[in-house]
Symmetry: none
Subunit: 142 residues, 4 copies
DNA sequence: GTGGTCTAGACCACA
DNA sequence: GTGGTCTAGACCACA
């Protein structure tokens, strides 16, 4: 389980962790029932203060993605996959809509916007979709 | 000169002001040589803390979009139009690219992303591009 | 706005704050649109670390009860009253049910349980319901 | 000897064990002189950490409910029945009082509280009090 | 070993 | 002035 933290990002570190865990669950890289690394071990691994990691786990718990097993650790909930998947889609869909609407209201022509979009989509095509796409998961996966 | 501020947005209020001014200049709604309202009057009009408005004006000045006319106020610079236009395009292009890349890295299929984009673009088509399109400006305008 | 914290309680301090704010909103002591005391002032008032107060506010925000106004503070949301009221009722109803069920499963006779309940309800009758009952609020209160 | 452990409960597992043993003794399901299963066998049976079971037994011993028979194991003490019964009543009585007082202080009307109580008591009536009622015990039993 | 809570103090953007 | 984030370190119950 690998996480890449960008301390210079404008997104809070603990939120970067939250997002990455959710996306990993949506992609099937992390599975229900799986025990997450402990706060201490993960904070060592990513060189963060344990409180920061704990805050991320706290958020994930509040979001219904993981739950704590007393004295054992945090485990991914059974219904986390569908939760994370639908959240992923709706969040990204909204964000795409917001950006396009902003461009439109800023006065960009629709044709211009389309040109931008196609250029970016073309670039994405060249690189493979990283870990996530290599692990498409069916719910009835072994 | 109308501004719509969303206090619930995750974008700082002063940045919302900056962005709207720049976009209005790019679209020709605000023109070079035009005198901006004073900090005091504008802060009254949009019910904002004067500090917030002043900060926005400072930012616009630092970005080379407006300049002070001694004793008269802030005025839009002659070269602001091309500045704002090119910034508008590059900023929006970058933002579009970032969102699409995020969706891609989150594991969304390219086809899925395209579906989202097309749906949003379709909706935009229905509404006219507001004030901005009604004031198309040539670069050699003032 | 007064809060009473019991540091010896088995309920976490920040949760005591959360609960008291919610109940005060449900009772009408704190109203929508009202600005909560700042983290710093409240932490001084109740002699707690600011982080602890911030954590409570954070929880309240996550629960949709309050929202932050950038640079101004935390404000009670418009829909907080009905939220807190329904939560108050459901939470307490559940807790009552749980205790009665526990007593029942522990082998207490129903008659015995009723005796206990009536004795306690009788005692409650003697004391007035504190601040809360003296401030029954209609939504269309001035 | 059956125990039902809820790992999601906010009550510590070892305390769930302690409570269930005490209630079973109060109800006569477990009787004085009876040998409890060993820590090892019980931890296997209920799939718990042996430490957890041992901790429960320690607590029961500290509470004077069970005692060690050298080389044979833990046995229920002769005076455990009256101990558990009186504790059962006082504990449950206190807990009922606490919940009702909380509801009262939260601003619920007394009438409302009564409605909740009666609804729950009604439901309890429908189901028979499980194992416990089938084993009514006299105090001078063993 | 595990997570939960609390304190203390720093730095930041924002209004 | 406001809240948000992060670090550092302590103590606790629990398994």
């Amino acid at each position: 389980m690998f996480f890449s933290i960008d301390v210079h990002s404008d997104v809070a570190i603990y939120l970067q962790l939250v997002r990455q865990v959710k996306f990993a669950i949506a992609a099937g890289t992390i599975r229900p029932g799986q025990l997450l690394p402990s706060v201490r071990s993960l904070s060592n691994q990513v060189a963060l203060n344990p409180n920061t990691v704990a805050r991320a786990f706290n958020q994930l718990q509040a979001d219904g993605v993981i739950e704590t097993l007393r004295g054992r650790g945090m485990v991914v909930r059974d219904d986390a996959v569908q939760l994370c998947r639908s959240e992923r889609e709706s969040v990204l869909n909204e964000r795409i809509g917001a950006v396009l609407a902003e461009a439109w209201h800023a006065g960009l022509a629709k044709k211009q916007i389309k040109t931008f979009v196609d250029a970016h989509l073309g670039q994405l095509c060249e690189t493979e979709p990283a870990v996530l796409a290599t692990a498409p998961v069916d719910d009835d996966d072994p």
